[in-house]
């Protein structure tokens, strides 16, 4: 997503804040597929992904007035809306289904990070992720993209839970430092 499109989204959000339903429809047309893809990747079930997208868009409509461009890009705001709803759904599922264990899933392709390079922020993140050891980088990417919790990551990668937690924390600190430089 380039900066111009993100700006357009900010404009649409501003119009939504004023109650403009046509702008809301445009927002859905523009973002629906991308956000649904993100929700589907996390929930792995179309019905749950649809619930996440539904709830996210209602929240986007209700809170459009709160979107503050000074506090960050519209893309991060929109993506955050759907990710937190999808994560709510899968965390609740994990809690409510006794013995629930995430299914095994395939690794991302080795060049999965290549798409990051298409934006300036993405290129910086890509550079900083590459500075992490490979296994730690995988943890970070799987947590964000697949929505796996600490304990799910531990099962998936056959690592002790404490190791997962400390590797993630160190990786995040390292990313923060690298991105600030």
């Amino acid at each position: 997503m380039n900066a111009a499109t993100s700006d357009d989204t900010a404009v649409l959000l501003h119009r939504c804040a004023g109650g403009d339903r046509a702008a809301f429809r445009l927002l859905y047309d523009r973002w629906g597929s991308r956000l649904y893809g993100i929700a589907l990747r996390i929930t792995r079930q179309p019905a749950l992904a649809a619930d996440a997208l539904h709830d996210a868009f209602l929240q986007i409509w209700q809170q459009a007035r709160r979107y503050d461009p000074a506090r960050g890009g519209a893309e991060a705001w929109m993506v955050g809306m759907v990710r937190y709803r999808a994560l709510d759904i899968v965390r609740r599922q994990a809690r409510e289904i006794p013995g629930y264990e995430p299914e095994e899933r395939e690794d991302g392709s080795p060049d999965a990070l290549a798409r990051l390079v298409s934006t300036t922020e993405g290129a910086a993140l890509h550079r900083c992720l590459k500075e992490l050891e490979e296994e730690r980088r995988r943890l970070v990417v799987m947590a964000f993209v697949d929505g796996l919790s600490h304990s799910e990551l531990a099962v998936q990668l056959r690592l002790p839970l404490g190791t997962v937690k400390s590797w993630i924390r160190r990786s995040l600190m390292q990313l923060r430092g690298c991105l600030a430089s």
Binding site: G19, F24, Y36, A52, L58, G80, D88, L125
Partner: protein, 225 residues
């Protein structure tokens, strides 16, 4: 490591999505009450969101837009069928929503079918609703928390109403974390919000602290079941 760095790390893990259980609930709580934490969350969203570009888009179900459209717009009436009371709009995806569902269910049982207005107030930085407001008997407003809200001892929460089309919110007074009942004429489409203010409320008559939660009053219709 300082407390501030710990908090920033918790914000990072929250955005990453790897938190679960108590840690996740603590992050959600902080997001609701701690503006500095909310700021950290925004900053981490900026840092990590490019990762989402890796995920392939997928076409949402064809009927989803209609479902969303039914749920929005204060002017619209959201009809809750008596046989399908788990109406999705209220079936939010959070633990807090259970309390809301319970409140609505009790409301449906105790009251004759009628139209009323409710608002779910959620943290602006994202997260589940923390307060539910319901109009009663035309000019009464009942505001109840759906989760426990921690307020710093030297601060108060203040409730505001912003009618549609207006730019300056009107104070509805200080809001104890346990909720409150008050009298106010509020039209559908009015936005309710809660800000963090000095003890006793805003000294200026307008919000001076960060606005923490917000939501719109929406008509709902509860038919005879």
């Amino acid at each position: 490591m300082s407390g501030e760095q710990d908090r920033d790390l918790l914000a990072a893990e929250y955005v990453l999505g790897s938190l679960e259980g108590d840690e996740r609930r603590e992050a959600e709580r902080l997001l609701s009450v701690d503006p500095a934490f909310a700021h950290s969350v925004s900053a981490w969203q900026q840092r990590l969101t490019p990762l989402a570009a890796q995920v392939a888009p997928a076409a949402p179900p064809a009927d989803l837009w209609r479902r969303i459209e039914r749920g929005i717009a204060p002017a619209a009436t959201v009809a809750i069928s008596p046989f399908r009371r788990r109406a999705r709009f209220w079936q939010a995806t959070t633990a807090g929503a259970l309390a809301i569902a319970a409140a609505l269910a009790a409301f449906m049982v105790l009251r004759q079918p009628e139209q009323t207005r409710v608002a779910l107030l959620a943290p602006l930085a994202g997260g589940p609703p923390v307060l539910m407001a319901r109009v009663e008997r035309g000019d009464g407003l009942v505001v109840r928390p759906t989760t426990s809200i921690a307020v710093p001892t030297d601060k108060d929460l203040e409730l505001w109403a912003l009618p549609q089309g207006e730019t300056k919110p009107r104070s509805l007074g200080v809001l104890p974390p346990s909720g409150r009942q008050l009298t106010a004429q509020l039209a559908p489409g009015t936005q309710l919000m809660v800000s963090l203010e000095p003890k006793g409320g805003s000294p200026t008559g307008q919000p001076t602290g960060p606005v923490l939660y917000g939501g719109w009053l929406t008509n709902i219709e509860i038919p005879r079941g």
